[in-house]
């Protein structure tokens, strides 16, 4: 059983360059290849030791895949590889105008219930945030490739705010679904 070396980065595990921009098709392809080899199902009639190892390696690959597949965890992971600690990243200051805008957005979200067509309003809200998210992805990508780690980390912190907002929008959507029934 060939095992991936733990010393490798997640990118190396999937034969991908250490970039923010990433070939999702290749990521998925390689993920399935690795799981086909290492998943515990492949060792269901193997020894207890083999099975335990398979669980660990398969879990590692799932974790690596989950990290690279989505933009924000991937960006944070790149910063980690570049030597930034969690505290370095969370310590980034965000400008006041961004925070003000966040507060407004959150307020808008909370008021959506009261609009005539909350579902449409929610969809519009999410689409608008997605535009900002894409913009921040570009900002991160540029800053990171230019080696400007501090501004890359700044973009991540902003993305975390937006991610939270999207999570809240999701909860709102669930409530709307429940209320219909």
């Amino acid at each position: 059983m060939s095992l991936p070396e733990l010393q490798k980065s997640y990118f190396q595990l999937f034969d991908l360059p250490e970039n923010f921009a990433l070939d999702q098709a290749q990521l998925g392809e390689r993920y399935r290849e690795l799981q086909k080899e290492l998943h515990p199902d492949r060792y269901a009639s193997g020894s207890a030791h083999e099975q335990r190892l398979a669980v660990q390696y398969s879990a590692l690959i799932n974790e690596a895949y989950a990290t690279l597949r989505k933009a924000l965890p991937r960006a944070l992971y790149l910063l980690k590889l570049a030597g930034m600690s969690k505290e370095d990243i969370s310590g980034q200051k965000v400008d006041g105008s961004f925070l003000m805008a966040q507060m407004d957005l959150r307020e808008n979200l909370m008021m959506l219930d009261e609009t005539g067509d909350p579902e449409a309003a929610l969809e519009h809200f999410v689409t608008e945030i997605d535009v900002d998210v894409k913009q921040l992805h570009r900002e991160f990508s540029r800053a990171f490739s230019a080696g400007e780690l501090t501004s890359a980390a700044g973009a991540c912190v902003k993305l975390q705010y937006l991610e939270k907002l999207l999570e809240e929008a999701e909860q709102m959507e669930s409530r709307l679904i429940d209320n219909q029934n």
């Binding site: 269901a44 909860q171 429940d178």
Partner: protein, 627 residues
């Protein structure tokens, strides 16, 4: 769809290498066993050719239990000895099972660790033992039909089964000496039965409406790998609820007479029979013999029935919408698979077709499809098929986390995470000199401990005494491919370590689980406010405790009198605020007090870390770093 052709010509292993593997659908109302033989998968019938085994066991005869149709026929004569729908009791505490038991006329006893036990003429039986008796019959049937020892079995469970229910199912199989190759989610098994054409690609939704539960799963099949993208559902919504809606309507129609328990049971049975006939007919007579003294019948049209069950069907569609959103698809669904007896209801089929804009697949008998899929997976796992075969990547249905301060749950493995999974999180001590940390493991979506299901508790001991916040305790959750959890905790400086395999011993009823899930969506705002207040209170008390202890220990040595007085004044002020509800005021005072005590904390931290590291030799420090 080509279901039956499994092995390609020339690919099958030599006969003497073929192992005997079976798939078992251990259902609430009916159970089945299936196997792959000579390249085709089928249900194994009993000696007179019957496929379905009613999940009913009668314990009147002390020499041996009677399982299946024979037991069912004794149900009215010996209600307390005839156990049905035992799946609803698996992994449940007696406290939680009382309502279900009353409805079923069982007598309960408290078992070990609060687990439920039924009292019968042949003594006490646990749900695990009853399930084992059902499994034993299916095992025997497989031995007889396959002509030899069984090498392994795949047993299906509802996707929404939690830890305790999964563990109980596995225990039942162990009791009869079955080697469990894998516990498999029922909808996933159905998808496997349909998705066998390995060439096929696309996204499949499985809509499973059985007797007592509703499950929805969305999977992607890509080059022989089945990836479960999201699952959702309702553990307390099924055919039983359709029966109840119809029974309720009949009662009102008859002027709401008061009924005795026996008459109620009769009414529900009549409602179920009428419901099932309405799947083929547009109007039926519902027989009231044994329900009303006058007997007679009442006519029910499909139109009336449809209007009665529409709200329930809509509820399932709500769960479908959420699941679709969780799956985060770029494109639509390619196929929708129907599973479970209740998907025979025409309105259900129409509503599902409408919602997904696809005609649902019903080519495979919805009663059999789960067992067939399980048999295919068993055949793969036991090693009968060549490399590069179908691989399944499933997810966990409910989030797993641990209790943090103030009765809050910190999620460590969120729901819909692909398994096997391993996640670690660091925690720290909150009191000076704290040498043990209690770890409380929970499952559920809500933010407060009291709203989630408690799975296990354990303690990490021999943490070296340090100031609050200096210890680094890494808690690792590992979920295996059966969805079973193992938790370990380790103090990173000394390497003190402890772990448990989670084997939950008490639980919640299905209603409570459903309520928990629904509440997690509808209480989001309320939760948040409560959470914020709780968080601030915890932070406040923690700060006060910490400062008190610190001042007692080092106040005199490290601070001058003026600084001590300033701190004490603020501390008293904070203490008063903590009794109230003003989250914002608490927060701002904590900040102020925190800033005020920063230097003091820094001086103490230096002192404490030097002391903590003093006893450890460089060698062992290196070891810790290496790992």
């Amino acid at each position: 769809m080509a279901l039956l052709n499994i092995a390609e010509p020339g690919q099958s292993p030599l006969p003497h290498q073929i192992k005997r593997a079976i798939g078992i659908d251990l259902g609430t109302t009916n159970s089945l066993v299936a196997a792959v033989r000579a390249g085709s998968v089928d249900i194994l019938p009993d000696e007179i050719g019957v496929m379905m085994l009613p999940s009913v066991v009668n314990y009147t005869d002390v020499r041996r239990p009677l399982v299946g149709a024979g037991a069912l026929s004794l149900a009215t004569q010996h209600p307390a000895d005839t156990l049905m729908s035992v799946k609803r009791f698996m992994g449940r505490g007696s406290r939680d099972a009382v309502a279900d038991a009353q409805r079923s006329h069982y007598h309960l006893a408290d078992g070990e660790e609060g687990l439920v036990r039924f009292i019968t003429s042949s003594g006490e039986r646990s749900p695990v033992e009853v399930s084992a008796d059902i499994l034993r019959v299916l095992h025997q049937r497989a031995l007889a039909t396959l002509g030899g020892e069984i090498d392994g079995a795949v047993i299906t469970v509802p996707a929404y089964f939690d830890e305790a229910q999964r563990q109980a199912t596995k225990d039942a199989a162990t009791l009869v000496g079955l080697r469990v190759l894998r516990l498999m989610n029922e909808p996933t098994a159905a998808a496997v039965a349909y998705g066998l054409d390995a060439a096929e690609q696309g996204v499949i939704a499985v809509y499973d409406l059985g007797g007592g539960t509703f499950d929805i799963s969305i999977l992607r099949l890509h080059k022989g790998v089945f990836e479960v993208l999201a699952i959702g559902g309702d553990t307390a919504l099924g055919g039983d609820d359709l029966d109840a809606a119809l029974a309720e309507w009949v009662l009102q129609h008859c002027g709401s007479p008061a009924l005795a328990p026996g008459q109620y049971r009769q009414l529900h049975a009549a409602a179920r029979a009428a419901k099932e006939r309405l799947s083929d007919e547009v109007a039926v007579d519902l027989d009231l013999t044994g329900v009303l003294p006058s007997g007679g019948a009442v006519q029910v049209t499909r139109e009336t029935f449809d209007s009665l069950i529409e709200p329930l069907v809509k509820r399932t569609l709500g769960a479908c919408r959420r699941c679709l959103r969780d799956a985060k698809l770029d494109a639509g669904i390619d196929n929708i698979v129907m599973v479970g007896g209740s998907t025979r209801v025409p309105l259900v089929r129409e509503a599902v077709a409408d919602f997904f804009q696809r005609r649902p697949l019903v080519d495979i008998d919805p009663d059999q499809v789960v067992a067939l899929g399980a048999a295919i997976q068993a055949d793969i796992l036991v090693g009968n098929r060549s490399e590069g075969d179908l691989l399944l990547l499933d997810v966990i249905p409910l989030s797993l986390g641990i209790e943090t301060m103030g009765g809050l749950v910190e999620k460590i493995v969120p729901r819909n995470t692909t398994i096997p999974a391993s996640r670690a999180q660091e925690f720290t001590t909150y009191k000076d000199g704290q040498t043990a940390l209690a770890i409380h493991i929970l499952q559920g979506e809500r933010e407060m401990v009291s709203d989630c299901r408690s799975l296990a508790r354990f303690e990490l001991r021999s943490i070296p005494p340090m100031v609050a916040g200096a210890a680094r305790i890494k808690v690792t959750f590992q979920v295996d491919a059966d969805g079973l959890l193992n938790v370990s905790a380790r103090e990173e400086i000394t390497g003190a370590q402890t772990s448990v395999t989670v084997k939950p011993s008490f639980g919640l009823s299905d209603d409570e689980i459903t309520a928990m899930l629904q509440a997690s969506f509808s209480h989001a705002v309320e939760d948040k406010l409560a959470r914020q207040l709780a968080e601030q209170r915890v932070a406040g008390w923690q700060l006060l405790d910490g400062l008190n202890a610190a001042l007692t220990a080092d106040g005199e040595a490290l601070l001058n009198e003026e600084d001590r007085t300033t701190l004490a004044t603020l501390m008293i002020e904070l203490q008063a605020l903590l009794e109230g509800q003003d989250t914002a005021a608490i927060h701002s005072l904590i900040e102020r007090l925190g800033r005020q005590s920063e230097t003091f904390a820094g001086r103490r931290m230096d002192k404490s870390i030097r002391e903590a590291l003093a006893g450890i030799s460089l060698d062992s420090l290196d070891d810790e770093v290496m790992q």
